[in-house]
Amino acid sequence: MTHAIDVRQLHKSFGDLEVLKGIDFTVNAGEVVCVLGPSGSGKSTLLRCLNRLEESNSGTILIDGEDITDIDADVDQLRSNIGMVFQQFNLFPHLTVLKNLTVAQTGVLKRPKDEAIGIAREMLDRVGLSDKIHEYPAHLSGGQAQRVAIARALSMKPKMMLFDEPTSALDPELVGEVLDVMRTLAGEGMTMMVVTHEIGFAQEVADRVVFMDDGVVVEEGSPEAVLRNPNEERTKQFLRMVLET
């Protein structure tokens, strides 16, 4: 059976700094995988390699069985199938919410304008922000902006979603609304890979938790196994530090 994401012996360096030291790891279709680990452990870099925002140095990445590290791979086509949500939202500030959701639909997927607007409305409804359709991003709270960013990714009808610390830039009281949207999405069977510091969310929503440190996968397994009874000393140490604060 082909995995949705299948990473083999992935290496990535920035200059002399080796950030990923041979990562092996898979995500099945419909699975929610949370990646935990201290900052600098390489988890964001791993995520960004999956849609080639970063180019890996060696190893293979198969998305639905297709090798995307291939030099002839159609990167734009690949990316339009993978939704990505960033820590800093990265909404387009010069476009309204609606335009944020339609610009790539009409430009990249060549959907007719009416269809694109219909899909945009549907996705905004899913994240509970239909009333903000004509606002500019500057008028949204952080939580709203991140929900719009999720809706923007969803309106491409991607096969999977990557989340790069989606709640790390939010005020504490706004984290919940974003996690709610992600929880719903997971419940609907979306394939999701989430780099996060939200242990509670991982425990509740993830099918599998991956713990990374220093460029390698230290430990992976069910949330119960990794978060409640970790085998590795590094995982225990990390969890102690996170749960104390």
Binding site: N51, L53, D76, Q77, L78, R79, S80, N81, I82, G83, M84, F86, Q88, N90, L91, F92, P93, H94, V103, A104, G107, V108, L109, A138, A149, R152, A153, M156
Partner: protein, 275 residues
């Protein structure tokens, strides 16, 4: 024992506030004296006759508006539009991943920023027909002058546009690319619209500079129909042996440039607020 600061104060017997006040009074007195000297020393009747002669000013109208202002505006706009197109191309080359493009853009920008605009105008007006025998840029003074100024303005504006593009956060490119947009589409639909919003104030400044630089067009020769403000004023001044035409066109230049500079200031303020 007397502390140093206290001793200083007794010596001058002035508080800082008093000192500031006396300093102010001294400055105002000096300004008043200079004004009085200038007012009494100047020959006001002569100044009035030579610089503010209403009959000569009246003679300039309506041609100074219908012909000279119109030509200045036309030269400026065409130079600006051509320069902008050139600058955009140069800025994109400057940021290209191809080394040859980057090298060309840098070479071009350094060359034309380093030359006086007058030299470039002379090259375009008189050098090109020699180099390419008989080749002339079409459109007469308008065409040749505007191309010449655009070559210069393009070099300056290219650096402005590049700075604008670089000021757009990297996350914008990443978000657009992650949605599957190509590099070109990302540049034109996401990055450039934001970059131009950032650089409207410096571009308006560039426009003001161009308005003034069109006064160099005289070097290309002129016919009665192609004179811009400065040339028009100089010819009028020579004919009348009077400097009033200079005063008139100076006022007209300011009438055009001052609203633009006010606009820049307002745009800068609102841009600062939006950030």
């Amino acid at each position: 024992m007397v502390r140093p600061l206290a001793r200083f104060r007794t010596m001058t017997s002035l508080t800082p506030r008093q000192r500031a006040r006396y300093y102010q009074i001294a400055m105002y007195s000096a300004a008043a004296v200079i004004t009085v000297v200038v007012v009494f020393a100047a020959d006001w009747s002569k100044i009035q006759k030579n610089f503010f002669n209403p009959e000569i000013a009246a003679e300039m109208f309506p041609e100074v508006i219908t012909s000279a202002v119109k030509n200045t505006a036309l030269y400026t706009l065409l130079s600006f539009v051509l320069g902008m197109v050139l600058a955009l191309g140069l800025a994109l080359m400057r940021l290209s991943s191809l080394k040859a493009f980057r090298a060309f853009a840098i070479g071009y920008i350094e060359l034309f920023r380093g030359l006086p605009a007058l030299i470039t105008l002379l090259f375009v007006g008189f050098g090109l027909p020699i180099a390419f025998s008989g080749f002339r840029i079409p459109g007469g003074v308008l065409g040749r002058g505007s191309v010449g100024l655009a070559l210069v303005a393009g070099a300056y504006m290219a650096e402005t546009i590049r700075a604008g593009i670089e000021a757009v956060p990297k996350g914008q490119t990443e978000a657009a690319r992650s949605l599957g947009m190509s590099q070109t589409r990302t540049m034109f639909t996401i990055i450039l619209p934001q970059a131009f919003r950032i650089i409207i104030p410096p571009l308006t400044n560039e426009l003001v500079l161009l308005i003034k630089d069109t006064s160099l067009f005289f070097i290309l020769g002129s016919t009665p129909g192609t004179k811009e403000l400065t040339k028009f004023a100089r010819d009028f001044m020579n004919a009348e042996r009077n400097a009033t035409p200079l005063t008139v066109v100076a006022a007209l230049y300011l009438l055009i440039t001052l609203p633009l500079t006010f606009l820049v200031r307002r745009l800068e303020r609102s841009a600062a607020k939006a950030r």
